[in-house]
Symmetry: D2
Subunit: 262 residues, 4 copies
């Protein structure tokens, strides 16, 4: 079974990348299932119902989130709609709207999807390591395999989390930094790992944002209104090839596909 995991989709250009590139990628790589991080999909921060439906219409089947989950307040209206395949970080406090993990069925397979936030440089959430342990105990017998989107900043926390899950999760992929890392591998216990999937959005940008505005902010230290950049776009992610019997990763492959303006 081949699963495509797409890194943070940033605004309209990110959605355009999905629309233009996903069909070709699915066909070329014979993708069975498509997951994407959608925390920046609506205007650069957060998600709306309309944007969610747009992403689903392009072929994305599962959407994970991150620290920007709540930045468009519309999400409080639809995050509990179980018809939408949304998974928000699991280590928010109890009673947080939405679900931190879900089990999706694809043909015969029961696929556990967990979204988790790192804490280093990011915020005050429950311990991601212990939260994973708790969820794992609940779902390990009800799932054929488990994928984890670890939305985190610091490379040390991400690598440590990968090692901690090695042999339990089928794959752990990082998101949030918007820059793809070149360290995809299968850990000794069989877990597929990459520190960051990278971003899906405008190429000539600072992690999706208009570069002049970000440079100006660093130079002046004044507040600046960020704006999603324009121009050519890129889709970044990984393709996991999973042995359905064992739930182990046979192969993990990075992809970066570009779509150019006319």
């Amino acid at each position: 079974m081949k699963i495509l995991c797409i890194g943070d989709i940033v605004g309209r250009p990110g959605r355009r990348a999905v629309r233009e590139l996903l069909p070709k990628i699915k066909e070329k790589h014979k993708i069975d299932l498509v997951l994407a991080n959608g925390e920046n999909a609506a205007g650069g921060v957060g998600l709306t119902r309309k944007v969610t439906e747009e992403l689903l219409s392009y072929g994305i089947e599962i959407i994970t989130l991150g620290n920007h989950t709540w930045d468009n307040r519309e999400i409080f209206k639809f995050i509990d709609d179980d018809q939408l395949p949304l998974v928000r970080p699991a280590n928010y406090p109890p009673k947080t709207p939405g679900k931190g993990y879900r089990i999706f069925e694809y043909e015969e397979a029961r696929i556990g999807i967990i979204n988790m936030l790192g804490r280093v440089f990011l915020g005050d959430f429950d311990c991601p390591f212990r939260t994973f342990d708790q969820i794992y105990e609940k779902i390990k017998d009800e799932t054929d395999f488990i994928l984890v989107d670890f939305h985190a900043e610091a490379t040390a926390e991400k690598m440590a989390f990968g090692w901690y899950l090695d042999g339990r999760a089928t794959a752990v992929f990082g998101t949030h930094t918007h820059i793809q890392t070149a360290d995809e591998r299968i850990l000794p216990g069989g877990t597929g790992y990459i520190t960051d999937l990278g971003m899906t959005g405008p190429i000539d940008s600072v992690i999706g944002v208009k570069k002049d505005v970000v440079i100006e902010k660093f130079l002046t230290q004044l507040p600046k209104q960020f704006e999603v950049a324009k121009g050519d776009v890129q889709l970044c992610g990984i393709i996991l090839d999973i042995t359905e019997v064992s739930g182990k990763v046979r192969d993990i492959q990075r992809i970066q596909e570009n779509s150019y303006n006319d």
Copy 2:
């Protein structure tokens, strides 16, 4: 002219990686000059004179540093020895020992090397953007090309810095996160760029450190003595192919080479 830039060398395993892999890489790629980040070369943090000389004996010709520059206090004894090709971050306060940029000569070429620290999540240094401007004005007429090691954490700061230098520096490569990124490219103004070179050190580790200790630290939040990991090693970096006439990058290529234990 081909320049190999090697990411943070971590302790004894990192030095072993250099010793075992550098000769082959130099020969295979016809490397003219070798630069490396040495901030973790002695026992995981900092640098000693002995380790510096060891690295030079393996063929490294220029050593840049980072936030761990001063962690082995022996460095205060030799950082001002101009015989040693050391460059420490330029945006420390005036009067800081050592030099933040230097001009090296290689055959006909005068090569400006700048080391710089990011500030986001890292510390209170002078503005790297303005510090670059000042150094650039001083050395642009005395150099044929300029390479910048931007030792920083946040991807946004690194990308913004790359764009800010585009057309002025020959190349900007990030260090510090110890995970290689897959975003090497030549920016529109001609500057070679990558967000992080990655680490040179033990493969089965958390950014060079024994993984069990780091996991334990995340689980317990208690202080832990970090220790450099053991086992197979990797050398990470980039090869820049520079047109000597224009000082522009013709090509930027990532490398990851492994050396396995017997």
Copy 3:
């Protein structure tokens, strides 16, 4: 000469505190000059021209600012109007609008006012220690005494800054934490010092903000729209008694005055 220095004025309740309490305080303590931190005066963050004029109409004569200086974008329109006695943090980059220090004249005395931001936990500004040195060299001969509003978070940075200025500044008072400290003293070199003036605004609040919203934010880690609290108000600050001849502080006295609703 007696100078009243008022801590961060928060929104409408803070302005009401000034309106209702300042006349009595001025009379009771025979205040000659009134300075206040205004970074939160307009709606809790930032400053408008109207609010500035309102504060001046109540008897405030000098307004310093802080990390919220730019949060109401209207300030870019009037911060360079020299008719308004505004002083913004001095350690923003060169070319920042406004002035980081100014010399005001009161009767015979030339009073240097410096506003400065700390960096620890606050942001990436120029070094406040070196920035003070530079300003001090410029103005020491043109002023009879110098007052410094050090807008900073960490107690260690604030105390260190106080000691660093001891004997050069007439007084250094901290702002920003919105909680008055009980450590007012005259340092051995003669400089008056307090770590924080405290806040001028609603008493039953979390540093000026409605307490239920802040508690909710800590409990849920979800984004919350902060709102200035209501109810009884307090004015916090210090009274400096300065010997005009020497420019030294004779006395530093904390004040906290309340105004209750009917």
Copy 4:
């Protein structure tokens, strides 16, 4: 019943302050019980058995801790010795050595003592708000009153925590910043509150540390070995006057007592 709560005791000078000042304070104010924060008592960071016993011999009866709890590794040997009246922060992960809350008996009264760490700017601990709720449910029926040492940095987190506990805890006092705040009060629900008790240690210092070294660190950004300062000392804290019947605070009073060298 009168309880004296002493702020962070820093090293030998802090212990000297206790030895010289505590007997007089106890007598003058007719103190029934003495609690102190001991996280800096041994050499400036952490605690040893010998220092613990020294503090007990001076009349301290309960010792709370903070983020420096584990900095002297000797503590792992004695923190589980229930003969010693130690309470470490409660929001470390389960299985952490020591106890996060304890019930002490004094004459007829059962006194719950809770130590808690803030998270803002401090570290990745369990939510202090929810951790308090859990402990409170366990001990509210077994205690006559509850005192909470909230060891935290940010004033907003401390105030919010105070309000959250108002009506449940008898008193909440902050520690960690080493600067006493002037905001002691009884909240509307009856809980005594102060943002920080202040430090017990050398007066002419930066929060207990030799001031020249701290200034040097801010100026150079180089690593510096901190050293506890010398000279005259101060004991800072509060005296809580508690009505034994209701467990409510009748009065909260700040104290700062100095002891001068010969």
